[in-house]
């Protein structure tokens, strides 16, 4: 097991190194320099380059860059005078985290509920209804859903605010737009797992012993069905990450995603690269946790290396 963890952590670091290298050389190929101001004399440019280490050989700059990243320093924004990228991330991540967590929790609870109901009422209208909701949630792009919600609930009905972030009611529409995918994934997953588990002999045994039906379902069914839930954490994180980019933009939520989109539009490369690295790190850590938990929860899968995430 220790060897397994070590190799996974090794992979993680290697992947991150590749991404960091990629972003570094990307920054080099992009046109322009932060000091391309015609009012600056060549000596002034020299001094500035000296100060920011831009006249050093590429290899030295590269290792300095990697060193800075390990210290959490992603450079300085072009757009906001002299503000460090990490402070921008720090300031904006809170809102995105709240939005993401809210969608994840709400979505998982609703999805769980839908999935269980669908499995218990297998092949009835309730089941079909839940699966229609799931297909819609998986298929309708989040920006379309966000647009529809903004127009119908926000503008036409006027029930909820359509933009900004000034309280809980402002977070409801963005949360629904983000949670739809979570609900759909969760409902489908739960339904399949529950059907699998409920067909097992130990469920029949539990029923035969005269245990109350809800205890059978919650204690014997749900608990076992929940085990492989870890497998959907990866796709959910990705969807929430990409989701925050568009949903925050549509609802003008001052989160990290909105900043990222804004930076792309204004060519603020240090921020783009910094946020990219930050997202990658987040993603890699989630994948690592998923992999490790997978081995812990279900020892049959462990150590088989290439076999993970296959089959289903």
């Amino acid at each position: 097991m220790k060897k397994y963890i070590a190799s996974r952590v090794g992979y993680m670091l290697f992947t991150f190194l590749i991404i960091a290298t990629f972003t570094f050389f990307l920054m080099q190929t992009l046109p322009g320099s932060p000091f391309n101001d015609e009012r600056l004399s060549s000596t002034q440019k020299e001094v500035l380059n000296e100060r920011y280490g831009l006249n050093e050989p590429l290899s030295v700059q590269y290792f300095k860059y990697l060193g800075n990243i390990t210290k959490g320093d992603f450079g300085v924004s072009f757009q906001f005078d002299g503000r460090s990228v990490s402070s921008i991330i720090g300031e904006r991540i809170g809102v995105s985290a709240i939005l993401g967590a809210q969608s994840l929790i709400a979505g998982m609870i609703i999805g769980l509920f839908l999935g269980i109901i669908a499995a218990l009422r297998h092949n009835t209208f309730i089941d079909y209804g839940a699966m229609v909701v799931a297909v819609l949630g998986l298929s309708i792009p989040n920006f379309v859903l966000a647009g529809l919600l903004q127009y119908w609930v926000g503008v036409r009905l006027g029930w909820l605010p359509v933009a900004f972030w000034e309280g809980f009611e402002y977070s409801i529409l963005p949360t629904i737009a983000l949670a739809a995918f979570v609900v759909a994934t969760m409902a489908r997953f739960m339904r399949t797992e529950m059907l699998d588990v409920l067909g097992n002999e130990y469920i029949t045994t539990a029923r035969a012993k005269g245990i109350k039906e809800y205890t059978v379902i919650l204690k014997h069914g749900l608990r076992n069905a929940m085990i492989p839930i870890i497998t959907i954490l990866g796709p959910l994180t990705v969807s929430l990450m990409t989701g925050t980019l568009v949903v925050e933009k549509i609802f003008s939520v001052p989160g990290l995603g909105e900043q990222f989109v804004k930076s792309i539009l204004t060519n603020d490369y240090p921020v783009i690269m910094g946020v990219t690295l930050f997202y990658s790190l987040l993603f890699i850590i989630v994948i690592l946790i998923v992999d490790l938990l997978y081995g812990v929860v279900d020892p049959r899968i462990r150590l088989s290396g290439g076999g993970r995430r296959e089959g289903k």
Binding site: T15, S139, P141, V144, V238, T276, S280
Partner: protein, 338 residues
């Protein structure tokens, strides 16, 4: 020759002849894997609806732009922001296809336009019907191109990795492990920053990490199949590696390959639309469905028709492909059906 004192002469036997052969065929009508799957697929209402919708949308994407006389980049500032108006259907209230905008004024009368714009016009007076189907065409083109490239690279990589096994497999799998760890979207965004948005660069950016899942699935299938007897039999008869892979292993993995492709297409359409949305999409005048949706947001409050039609169509495409993909999965492998 004597058996139990009886003489076995030729006239005791009769030739089986063609009749018998025909009878044999009559008894058991041959059915291929694909035929079986097709029969199962047709019974699946959701998947069949999806298939019909896809055919319909593809037909409209191909011929829709020619159904009226407007060009997709034809601007006319005298007819901007017209709401949709369709002959015959305009007489049915509630449908909102009568050329009356959300404040209740008939824009067609106000702007003295006599033509019909089935989906209305945008802020530059371009006909939305033409633009939307043109955009659908481009979105579908990107999606199919990406799916085909994924298919080719993934199948080749996966089958080679699994078939040769050993060290080759080991190295190829390590590469995949690293690629799996890199978030797809990040690579796409970074690549488009260098390559500059265009149909080809967007497709390439999606393919660079997209083929990995196909390769994994093909590898799993080939690994499962290559130990089976028919492969051994074929090998004993002297089949070459190439013939084994292309003649036996890949045809037998066709089910999972088709299913994976079916799910690649909607996700490529989504990624393309998403890129347009964050400002990394195609450049005007060519428009994809995602860009039209994005444009629709600018006027959402006053002219919602721009967003409604494009978003309904993009959603329909996604839903149809997902339904068809689910249906195919069930029909290729009925054991999986729940």
């Amino acid at each position: 020759m004597k058996v139990n004192e009886f003489e076995l002469t030729d006239d005791l036997f009769e030739e089986s002849g063609k009749e018998f052969e025909e009878k044999k065929i009559m008894n058991r009508p041959s059915s291929t894997f694909l035929k079986d799957s097709w029969i199962r697929l047709r019974k699946n209402k959701g998947a069949f609806t999806g298939l019909i919708l896809i055919v319909l949308i593809m037909f409209l994407a191909a011929f829709g732009p020619y159904m009226n006389s407007h060009g997709f980049d034809e601007q006319d500032l005298t007819r901007t922001n017209l709401p949709p108006k369709v002959p015959v259907l305009e007489n049915l209230p509630l449908l909102g296809l009568s050329g009356v905008d959300i404040r209740g004024t008939d824009q067609y009368a106000a702007k003295e336009v006599t033509e019909y714009y089935w989906f209305g016009t945008d802020d530059l007076g371009r006909d939305l019907w033409t633009r939307i189907w043109q955009g659908t065409r481009i979105s579908l083109y990107i999606a199919f191109l990406a799916a085909t490239l994924d298919l080719v690279i993934g199948v080749a990589y996966g089958s080679i990795s699994a078939y040769y096994g050993g060290r080759i497999d080991n190295v190829m799998q390590r590469i995949i492990e690293v690629l799996m760890g890199i978030p797809n979207l990040i690579v796409v965004i970074l690549l488009i920053l260098i390559l500059k948005p265009g149909i080809l660069s967007i497709t390439l950016a999606m393919v660079i990490t997209g083929w990995v899942s196909m390769a994994r699935i093909v590898r799993g299938q080939v690994l499962k199949l290559k130990g089976q007897e028919f492969v051994l039999a074929s090998r004993t008869l002297g089949a070459k590696d190439k013939n084994l892979i292309w003649g036996h292993l890949i045809p037998n993995s066709l089910g999972p390959i088709i299913i994976t492709t079916m799910f690649t297409i909607p996700s490529a359409i989504f990624t393309e639309a998403f890129l347009s949305f964050i400002g990394l999409g195609l450049q005007p005048p060519i428009a994809s469905l995602g860009m039209i949706v994005n444009d629709g947001f600018k006027m959402l409050k006053i002219y919602p028709h721009m967003l409604m039609f494009s978003s309904v169509i993009i959603s329909l495409i996604m839903i149809s492909f997902n339904l068809l993909g689910d249906g195919l999965r069930d029909s290729f492998d009925p054991k999986m059906k729940k």
